[in-house]
């Protein structure tokens, strides 16, 4: 019995090389489709995961000020009112915004240097992070993108133009590491006093408040308690996370849909090839049945063929998709996936290969291929062998 199946296996492997054109067409079409689908899926999940990590580190609540429907600086005295709300652990005022250099926009962060944790220093490649005595001195720590763009290093001075077209001179005291680039590439971190000066933020106002709630409280409940405050908008982590997932998911979804359509096309090509070859192999099937092959034996042969072809093409496609996304930063694809965003060459695209993605890709490639190969084989196999050989000869 085992010997019979071994022989059937050997015969089906032999068929793979005998019907070379069919094998090549199926492999190429499935290879292209699975490479693109896997690159999109792996990248989309990587971006979602990175966003999730950052959102988890974000404040429990972000309080902004609305004026005529637009975000405006929030009065500093709101901090005291918010701090008195039940469940609020701390309220951190922030001043941050954007600065343009060339065609790029960088994120300028003003930090209260007296509150910076020591562990933050691990993200620095050269120089040092800000210290409490850097407040108001114009010292900054910059990311790899701006360092590369301006060709600056620790110890150099840079001049940034503010919105009011005034030149502001800053001294670079630290450079963020490559490893932290996914978060820091576009950052210019300075003391909150320097940021106030740079943005010409009026005294008594800040950009927004980072609010941290007590461990026993739900941020959403605390946010509800703040609803009495006029002109504020309160964003919680869950809302931000869903926003990011929607942003990356929506674009990724479009491409997965497109490439799934291509996969269906590839399955149709496989079906067409199987029918054509099925026509050619009618004589062969008739001969095999005359020699004593059963219908099940012939289906087994074709099943093994399609499994080998399916797993070969799909696995190779996924390996190539992974290399394309993880090592080559998915050129051509990433621009569309990120929308208007761009990816600084200073860091690699975050790629996450989940079991769900891997098995989904196998499911949408191998199973349709099996069906489209086995069905024509079954139709051939149930035909009377003599009739099949006569038709093939004719």
């Amino acid at each position: 019995m085992i010997k019979k199946h071994k022989n059937l296996l050997r015969y089906s492997f032999d068929c793979l090389s005998r019907y070379r054109m069919r094998s090549a067409v199926i492999i190429v079409t499935f290879l292209i489709a699975t490479t693109m689908v896997s690159a999109v899926l792996f990248t989309k999940e990587g971006l979602e995961k990175e966003a999730e990590i950052s959102v988890r580190m974000a404040p429990d609540l972000t309080v902004q000020y609305l004026k005529a429907g637009r975000v405006a600086p929030i009065p500093l005295d709101y901090a005291n009112t918010i701090a008195e709300v039940e469940g609020v652990k701390s309220v951190v005022p922030r001043i941050w915004g954007y600065a343009g250099i060339s065609t790029y926009t960088f994120t300028v962060i003003g930090l209260d240097t007296s509150l910076i944790p020591y562990a933050t220093f691990g993200s620095i490649e050269s120089g040092r992070f800000l210290k409490p005595d850097d407040a108001g001195k114009g010292n900054i720590v910059i990311g790899k993108l701006i360092a590369g763009l301006l060709n600056v290093k620790v110890g150099d001075d840079i001049i940034l133009l503010s919105e009011s077209v005034e030149a502001n001179k800053f001294h670079v005291v630290g450079l963020f590491s490559d490893a932290s680039s996914i978060y820091t590439a576009d950052m210019i971190v300075m003391s909150i006093q320097d940021a106030r000066q740079f943005f010409r933020m009026p005294e008594g106002y800040v950009t927004d408040f980072a609010v941290y709630v007590e461990d026993y409280e739900q941020p959403a409940n605390v946010a509800t308690k703040m609803s009495f405050l006029p002109n504020v908008r309160i964003l919680d982590q869950d809302l931000l996370l869903r926003g990011y997932k929607a942003a990356y998911g929506a674009r990724g979804g479009i491409f997965v849909t497109l490439w799934t359509i291509l996969l269906v096309g590839a399955a149709l090509v496989a079906f067409s090839q199987a029918v054509v070859v099925g026509h050619e192999s009618k004589f062969e099937v008739g001969l095999l049945k005359t020699f004593g092959f059963s219908t099940l034996d012939i289906i087994e042969v074709r099943l093994v063929e399609s499994l080998v072809l399916g797993f070969f093409a799909t696995s190779l496609g996924m390996v190539l998709g992974y290399i394309y996304a993880a090592y080559l930063n998915a050129p051509g694809l990433v621009d569309i996936l990120l929308g208007w965003a761009f990816l600084p060459r200073e860091f690699r695209l975050p790629v996450f290969v989940s079991w769900t993605s891997v098995f989904s890709i196998y499911a949408v490639t191998v199973i349709p291929l099996m069906i489209t190969t086995v069905v024509p084989a079954w139709l051939n196999a149930i035909t009377d062998p003599e009739l099949a050989m006569r038709r093939a000869a004719a």
């Binding site: 492997f13 793979l16 090389s17 094998s23 971006l47 966003a51 950052s54 580190m57 974000a58 972000t62 902004q64 609305l66 637009r70 975000v71 941050w96 790029y104 926009t105 930090l111 509150l115 910076i116 933050t120 691990g122 993200s123 996914i182 978060y183 820091t184 590439a185 576009d186 971190v189 609803s227 002109n231 908008r233 309160i234 964003l235 809302l239 931000l240 869903r242 926003g243 990011y244 929607a246 499994l307 080998v308 072809l309 797993f311 070969f312 696995s315 190779l316 390996v319 992974y322 990120l338 929308g339 208007w340 965003a341 761009f342 600084p344 790629v351 996450f352 290969v353 079991w355 891997v358």
Partner: protein, 107 residues
């Protein structure tokens, strides 16, 4: 080894490679240095992509691009729509944002 065994063996090797990539990739995410203290200190929710567009590191609404950059008579639907399809259809956009002025939303 006979030539006919080449493709089946390659199929098995490649499938195992995919499994290995999956395991090692997930392990690398678990062992990665996220610089949590830095992210906690800075507190921005986004990663550093999209730095040529000023909205991408701003909380929520600015993620959905310039929804507050309204033009006289109505919000700019074109720009957010070009970013992620039509954000006004997303419930995250209009259901859970306290204070978001949605009074001129189209019916």
């Amino acid at each position: 080894m006979r030539k006919i065994y080449l493709m089946p063996i390659m199929a098995i090797i490649l499938t195992c490679t995919v499994m290995v990539i999956c395991v090692t990739n997930q392990a690398s995410w678990q062992n990665r240095e996220y610089y949590n203290d830095l992210r906690y200190a800075i507190g921005l929710p986004s990663i550093a992509i999209g730095t040529n567009y000023e909205g991408t590191r701003n909380p929520l609404l600015e993620v959905f691009v310039r929804s507050l950059y309204d033009i006289p008579g109505g919000y700019d639907y074109v720009v957010p729509s070009s970013f992620i399809d039509t954000p006004l259809k997303l419930k995250e956009y209009y259901e859970s944002v306290p204070g978001f002025n949605i009074t001129i939303r189209r019916s």
